[in-house]
């Protein structure tokens, strides 16, 4: 069990696979974070980004029910929210404008994942 180093941080989880979303949620909770969502589609993710008052960070699965989550990433960048991608794809599948975004390859190594979230949330 990692240190609750994300205490109070509001993290949006965008992941369409229930099992994985549930796991992330649990993991982030354990780290002390407040999980927003999880949401499983581009549409619900965009809703959340629009309506949530405070988002400290986000974790975004690139493929949401067959749809690429680039619109979600763009919205997060626009709002200034730091985030990481989780993906089963290799890097070449990403548009170059996201080349600076942290990528966590699935299956996500949870300890490293929290580390990554912490690093970009606190930067």
């Amino acid at each position: 069990m990692p240190e609750p180093t994300l205490r109070g941080c509001r993290i949006l989880v965008v992941e369409d696979e229930y099992m994985l979303a549930d796991e992330l949620r649990r993991e982030l909770n354990d780290a002390g974070a407040v999980v927003l969502g999880p949401v499983g589609s581009v549409e619900t993710a965009l809703d959340a980004i629009r309506t949530e008052e405070v988002i400290d960070g986000a974790i975004v699965d690139i493929n949401l029910r067959g749809e690429m989550a680039f619109a979600v990433a763009d919205a997060l960048i626009e709002r200034g929210v730091p985030f990481a991608f989780t993906t089963g794809y290799d890097e070449s599948a990403l548009p170059t404008r996201f080349s600076q975004i942290v990528r966590c390859e699935k299956p996500v190594n949870l300890a490293r994942f929290v580390q990554a979230v912490r690093s970009f949330v606190h930067q």
Binding site: D16, E17, Y18, M19, L20, A21, D22, E23, P38, G40, N63, L64, R65, G66, T87, G88, Y89, D90, A93, E105, K106, P107, V108
Partner: protein, 783 residues
């Protein structure tokens, strides 16, 4: 007049006459003297005194018969005064005519005189003495000797000149390689009065003299001098090195090396001369040497005629060399002609008749040369040419007659088998010194195979599925295959130069230009671009490659290019890329699901065996659904009835207690299958362990139907268990709630499903509604 006085008068006259005669004799230019029978001088004149070089006294007994100091016969013997012819004349009346006698004067000088002596008679007819009239013929005789000598020399020179003339005409008449060396050597010996002679030719590429012939050498000497280099000490070697005539008057003073000296000694040579033979250019072409068995001195005059001979021999050698070169050249030309697979011919420019025709004619024309050459062979040649090509061939020959080089193609029909041959002739004029075209040369090349190959190649190029073209550097097309025209609908002429770019996608034109820019350096052109298909009205991808055709010097003459339609392949590749990415995505997601499942299972397991059993059970359920999915073709879908039957069969439930009711063939979204299968698996497992399938009185009814919600198809699944003991002791056992979580949370979250889950009095009742496939095609809908 009385007798006495008459006699007196006669005496007086006689005395007068004698006195006049004496005076006359005294003054005449010839020498005269007389003596009596005793030899006493009775008279001599002044001229006689001059000849004698002394003046004797008349009547002196010491000077009998002659007034000279001493006399010699022409043969050099002494002539005593008492033996001289005056004695015979005065005593015996014997006259002497033109006898030559040498008179020695007291000072030793000698003169030659011609003597005429007559006896003198007195009045009674008795011998009274002799008279000698003599003349100094010394000068005359000397001149005569000189004349005789000169006549002899002239005769010799005349003979020598005649010899030269003979040699000259015989050399000029020579046209074979066996030059009359023996004749030349004889002439050389004769002109130089030498004992031996040799002739050598300069073999210029070896810079050595080669002995062509000799006369009089010892065998060993001849062998020794077979080849002579310029640095050898022999006279000919020195003459070659010094580039002038070399004279060796005395072999004893010759400073050659011992071998050289020995070679001369063997042949008994004591003097030698070597004279270079020069071509008209002045270069030495050979050497003519003569040798003597005695020492001698040389004089320029010795060589006057010899040098003429040398000139003739030099001409002969030069002409022989030129003839040999010409013969060699002619022979080579003949061999070329014989060996050539092309027909070589020469025609008389006037009559156009062949004067030369090579054997290749027979192969190509299928006609023996004798036949071809018979009669008016220009006319019969024209007959062999196909009528439609005949005028062109005649015009071409006419142009050659006017002095042009002409290349022309024509066809002949072989008389032997009637087949047609394509020929290409390159004809050229051959002019005489005045520039008049006297001959027509021709080279006929058989193009038939080339033509056929061209035709085959052309059919190949027009038959392959690629678009083929030819171009200059920079993509300036010179030819486009019919495929291009067919594909693009562009007229062939419009495609030439850069016209073809009109059929290329505008976005790709820049890339094409860039590729051409580096094509020359790279030696190949390779680029992919889109070309508009006239029929479909859309662009398709082509891969275009071109390779340069180079000349012998490596310079690029043109480019040959093909464009291959790779549109389908590109689409396949794109699709494959998507599929690979999808596969990766799904695999990694599945790993995540498995990990999550194991976590969840671990959290709700009593102990490790419990975990093991339940985890394996869930993995098997996941495997089954992967199995169903992987069997599918791209457009296939898993149907719900298939899924439910697979799941129920897997748990080995009692089929009698299960009722399935619903239409078959309802197609599930592939993205839904895994989660739905997991949910059904949890329901079935629970039913097996705690519910309808695990209890004797239990019954499971699964019914499903297709519904429309806002005109979209939904699958409604009703899972109803009945006859199940729902007592509290039993209900705690199902408290893990994995199935319930999946139904109530996972399906709505992941599939947008509407679900309900109830624990009724006689068992679980669960309703799941999920959106299903609207069309048969849902590419890329995995998640």
């Amino acid at each position: 007049m009385s007798g006495h006085s008459a006699s007196h008068a006669a005496d007086a006259a006689l005395r007068e006459s004698d006195a006049a005669m004496s005076k006359l004799l005294m003054l005449m230019p010839a020498a005269v003297y007389a003596c009596d029978t005793e030899g006493r001088l009775t008279f001599f004149n002044r001229r006689a005194v001059e000849c004698w070089g002394r003046e004797p006294r008349l009547g002196d007994i010491e000077d009998r018969w002659c007034g000279s100091f001493r006399m010699w016969r022409p043969d050099g013997s002494l002539l005593m005064h008492d033996d001289c012819p005056m004695v015979d004349a005065a005593r015996r009346g014997r006259a002497v005519r033109n006898m030559e006698v040498v008179l020695e004067q007291p000072n030793g000088a000698r003169i030659l005189v011609s003597v005429n002596i007559d006896p003198l008679y007195d009045a009674e007819g008795q011998l009274a003495g002799a008279i000698n009239v003599f003349e100094d013929i010394t000068e005359r005789k000397r001149g005569e000797a000189a004349r005789l000598d000169s006549e002899a020399k002239l005769a010799v020179e005349l003979e020598d000149t005649r010899l030269l003339q003979r040699i000259s005409s015989s050399l000029i008449g020579q046209d074979n390689e066996d030059a009359p060396y023996a004749t030349i050597l004889d002439a050389a010996r004769s002109l130089m009065r030498s004992d031996m002679a040799s002739i050598q030719v300069l073999v210029s590429d070896r810079q050595q003299l080669h002995l062509l012939a000799h006369s009089g050498f010892a065998v060993e000497s001849a062998r020794f001098w077979e080849w002579v280099r310029a640095d050898t000490a022999s006279s000919c070697g020195r003459a070659l090195a010094a580039d002038r005539r070399v004279l060796v008057p005395d072999m004893d003073r010759f400073d050659g090396d011992p071998e050289e000296v020995e070679a001369y000694r063997r042949s008994g040579i004591l003097s030698v001369q070597s004279t270079p033979l020069r071509a008209h250019s002045g270069e030495i072409v050979g050497m003519l040497s003569t040798h003597w068995r005695k020492r001698r001195t040389f004089d320029d005059a010795d060589f006057r005629l010899f040098d003429v001979l040398a000139r003739l021999v030099a001409d002969l050698i030069e002409r022989n060399a030129a003839d040999a070169a010409l013969r060699e050249s002619e022979e080579r030309f003949r061999q070329f002609g014989e060996a050539s697979q092309d027909v070589l011919w020469i025609r008389d420019a006037e009559t156009l008749q062949w004067t030369y025709l090579t054997p290749a004619f027979e192969d190509i024309y299928g006609l023996a040369r004798e036949e071809a050459l018979a009669g008016d062979n220009y006319r019969s040649w024209l007959v062999l040419i196909l009528p439609e090509d005949r005028a062109g061939a005649m015009a071409a020959i006419e142009r050659v007659r006017q002095g042009h080089h002409v290349t022309f193609d024509y066809r002949v029909q072989r008389p032997a088998d009637g087949t047609i041959r394509w020929l290409r002739n390159t004809d050229f004029p051959i002019a005489d010194a005045d520039g008049k075209v006297v001959l027509v040369g021709g080279v006929g090349h058989d193009l038939t195979e080339l033509r056929e190959t061209e035709l085959r190649l052309q059919s190949l190029m027009e038959g392959i599925p690629q678009l083929v073209w030819r171009a200059y550097d920079g993509g300036h097309w010179t030819w486009a295959s019919p495929q291009w025209t067919d594909y693009t609908g562009q007229a062939a002429a419009d495609s030439l130069d850069l016209g073809w770019l009109a059929a290329v996608h505008p976005e790709d034109r820049g890339r094409i230009r860039a590729s051409w820019a580096e094509a020359i350096d790279r030696g190949e052109f390779s680029v992919e671009y889109r070309v508009c298909h006239a029929g479909e009205g859309r662009y398709r991808w082509f891969q275009t490659r071109a390779t340069p055709v180079r000349d012998a010097g490596g310079r690029i003459i043109e480019w040959l290019g093909t464009s291959t339609d790779i549109n389908d392949m590109r689409e396949l590749q794109e699709h494959q890329k998507v599929l690979v990415a999808e596969l990766q995505h799904r695999t990694r997601n599945l790993m995540g699901v498995i990990r999550s499942t194991s976590d969840k299972t671990a959290r709700t397991s009593a102990d490790l065996p419990d975990f093991h059993a339940r985890f394996r059970d869930r993995l098997e359920a996941l495997s089954r659904v992967q199995g169903l999915l992987s069997r599918l073709d791209e457009h296939d879908r898993v149907t719900f009835d298939e899924l439910i039957r697979t799941e129920l069969a897997a748990i080995n439930g009692d089929v009698d207690r299960v009722t399935l009711d619903g239409p078959s063939g309802i197609r599930l979204r592939s993205s839904s299958v895994q989660m739905l299968a997991m949910a059904l698996h949890e329901l079935a497992t629970n039913a097996m362990k705690y519910g309808a399938l695990g209890q004797p009185s239990g019954h499971l009814a699964v019914s499903w139907s297709l519904e429309r919600v806002q005109s979209k198809p939904w699958l409604r699944i009703d899972w109803r268990e009945s006859g199940v003991d729902m007592s509290p002791s039993n209900s705690t056992a199902r408290g893990t709630g994995q199935g319930r979580e999946l139904i109530e949370q996972a399906l709505p979250y992941q599939l947008g499903a509407k679900t309900s889950y109830e624990l009724g009095p006689s068992g679980v009742h669960c309703v799941v509604s999920i959106p299903v496939s609207t069309t048969t095609i849902e590419v890329g809908a995995y998640a």
